[in-house]
């Protein structure tokens, strides 16, 4: 989600356990966590942040379905309808022989469309400038971002929670500067 026109309260952590704990604590105290930026996926973080389960598998399923039907359809049409040739005495529609190609296309479609969906959904793009809250968030820093409008409600308590969980620094930051 776009961060450019937003202002955030950031908590920077040095350890994955701390940021996990902090997120948990914040949500217990009804504070909406905007996002976390971490060098690696932290197990359980999605639950802690209450992220809805991704629907990528559905994409995969339908893409695969498309792949297999296309493969079987095309093979049947080519071999039995458009250009029926007596090859080795086999029937024009030699179904068993069509299975391998059908399988491969299922996998190919499934994989490619899922990746495509992932890239689109995560707004990944080679040319846009990445929104980096902290220079080392892809190295060894763990960044917890709370929208300033949420933070404003109870800033003291939030700062407290963050520092309680050993946030190395806590400060406001303009999304536009990321």
């Amino acid at each position: 989600m776009d961060v450019k026109d937003k202002r955030f309260l950031l908590g920077i952590f040095d350890d994955d356990h701390d940021i996990m704990a902090a997120v948990g604590h914040l949500r217990e105290s009804q504070v909406e966590v905007f996002d976390c930026y971490t060098p690696f996926p932290i197990h359980g973080m999605d639950d802690a942040m209450g992220i809805k389960r991704s629907r990528l598998p559905i994409v995969t399923f339908f893409a695969g379905l498309a792949g297999v039907s296309l493969a079987l359809g095309v093979q049947y049409w080519i071999s039995a309808v458009d250009w029926p040739v007596n090859v080795g005495g086999k029937s024009f529609n030699s179904f068993p022989a069509f299975i391998p190609v059908a399988f491969e296309l299922t996998v190919l479609f499934g994989a490619l469309f899922t990746v495509l969906a992932f890239i689109l959904r995560s707004k990944l793009c080679p040319i846009t400038k990445p929104a980096i809250a902290h220079k080392r968030q892809t190295d060894d820093k763990f960044v917890l971002a709370i929208e300033a409008k949420d933070a404003a409600l109870n800033e003291e308590m939030i700062r407290g929670i963050l520092s309680k969980h050993h946030a190395s620094e806590i400060h406001f930051s303009e999304g536009s500067t990321w």
Binding site: F40, H43, M45, T114, L124, R136
Partner: protein, 454 residues
């Protein structure tokens, strides 16, 4: 996943030195930010020279004709398809490590999967070369794709060669995508480490697709990896199954065997892991990754080799039993001829390399002796190359009508082409270790605390 860092006396740390996150990043990415060392340059020089030689051999062959190979009216395939199957097989370990071990949540894979996947991709490239250049008219290779053309001609979907076309290209595409997806977070790290405005920065930020490490993205990212793994796992099995069908669906005794699919897949994993070992034993030394690619990894892979080696051995025995049990005279003859005929030397090389040599790895002493493991891994690869040679050549050279029986001997051109494919493989791999993160930094960070007290 760092939540699982259960401390137990039974578990060995996956990263044998206590490292902080920042240090990990530095250890791995620092390697490719600095200047390459001499060894690397020497290695690259050699491998690219060999690649060039292979290229010239192929150029000459394409200019002059397949006649420059040792094939004849009876033996239409030999080195070409042997090399093809060999390289496809090599590829399989990569996918197996990255996909199947991921599905089985094998944490130890994290520091080797990147290199293994890279190996997969380069191996498949090498494999792909051979079906192309083995054609009598390679400049018409595009005819094997079903595209609408003015002549209204289509391809023959009943031909295993066509299945190969789809299997190999799918396998290559999916592996490459999986590999790239895996590298995105590391590209992001590289991007953020590179100084502002440098070309490095531009390249890496393009490659990183503006990855920020947002946990919403991480969530999808992990799901995606699981899906890709779930697709790649059956794919890798299907690929070698289809390759084996080139032979299994034919009528030639020694080829026409239903045992081939499992037999080939086992063989592929077997040779693949051997090749991973060969590569990583060097890489960990040259790149000083001893703490990430540990003895534990090497031992684990040795164990896989013992297992698959025994599967392959079992397959050999089963083949003989079936030949005898079937009572088919042609089948019988082919297998007797393999063990006792003019190519017996090749057969017994295969058996001793693939069936006997892996059993040395039962001994921890040998398993933990890098030199021994390195040598054994190469022995296994030699053996697996010969397995394909034996299957292809000994079956063809004496089939149904004795009047057509013939012998095959490779020409210089063929040998140069085989070496050339190794040149290609190692050149690619050397470039990889220089310019791309050889170890999956993000994933390793999730396991550095494994089996380690805070």
């Amino acid at each position: 996943m760092a939540g699982h860092d259960a401390v137990s006396p039974l578990r060995q740390p996956l990263v044998t030195k206590d490292r902080k996150y920042g240090e990990v990043t530095q250890d791995i990415l620092g390697q490719i930010e600095g200047k390459p060392n001499k060894i690397w340059f020497v290695a690259l020089a050699i491998s690219s020279a060999v690649l060039l030689m292979g290229f010239l051999a192929v150029a000459y062959q394409i200019k002059t004709g397949i006649g420059t190979w040792g094939l004849n009216k009876t033996i239409g395939w030999a080195f070409d398809i042997t090399n093809f199957v060999f390289w496809v097989g090599i590829g399989h370990a990569g996918t197996l490590i990255s996909a199947i071990l991921l599905l089985f949540r094998q944490k130890w894979r994290t520091s080797v999967n990147r290199a293994a996947e890279a190996m997969t991709i380069f191996a498949v490239m090498c494999a792909g070369v051979f079906p192309l250049i083995h054609m009598g008219r390679p400049w018409l290779a595009h005819w094997v794709f079903p595209y609408p053309n003015t002549r209204q001609l289509w391809v023959n979907f009943r031909s295993p060669l066509l299945w190969d076309v789809f299997a190999i290209s799918t396998y290559f595409t999916v592996s490459a995508v999986f590999w790239y997806i895996g590298m995105i977070p590391d590209f992001a790290s590289l991007r953020d480490r590179a100084e502002e405005g440098s070309i490095k920065k531009m390249i890496y930020s393009a490659l990183s697709l503006s990855w920020t490490g947002s946990n919403r993205a991480w969530h999808r990212y992990e799901i995606l990896c699981l899906i890709l793994a779930g697709l790649a796992a059956p794919l890798v099995v299907s690929v070698h199954t289809i390759v084996s069908m080139d032979f299994a669906t034919s009528v030639i005794p020694g080829w026409h065997t239903t045992i081939f699919p499992p037999y080939f897949v086992a063989g592929a994993v077997f040779s693949g892991f051997a090749m991973v070992l060969t590569l990583l034993i060097i890489t960990r030394k040259v790149m000083n990754f001893e703490h990430y690619i540990t003895m534990g990894h090497i031992e684990a892979m040795c164990k896989v080799i013992i297992l698959t080696g025994m599967m392959v051995g079992l397959a050999y025995m089963t083949e003989f039993f079936t030949a005898w049990y079937s009572g088919n005279p042609y089948e019988k003859y082919v297998f007797m001829n393999r063990a006792t005929g003019p190519y017996a030397w090749a057969y017994w090389t295969m058996v001793s390399c693939n069936v006997i040599s892996p059993h040395f790895l039962w001994f921890k002493k040998i398993r933990t002796n890098l030199v021994a493991v390195f040598i054994l891994s190469i022995v296994v690869n030699i053996g697996m190359w010969f397995e394909r040679f034996v299957i292809i050549v000994t079956s063809l050279h004496r089939d149904y009508l004795p009047s057509s029986w013939a012998m095959y001997t490779p020409t210089k051109i063929e040998i140069m082409t085989l070496l050339g494919s190794f040149g290609l493989f190692f050149t690619m791999f050397l470039l990889f270790v220089r310019f791309l993160p050889t170890i999956n930094v993000a994933e390793v960070k999730t396991v550095i605390k494994f089996a380690r007290k805070k």
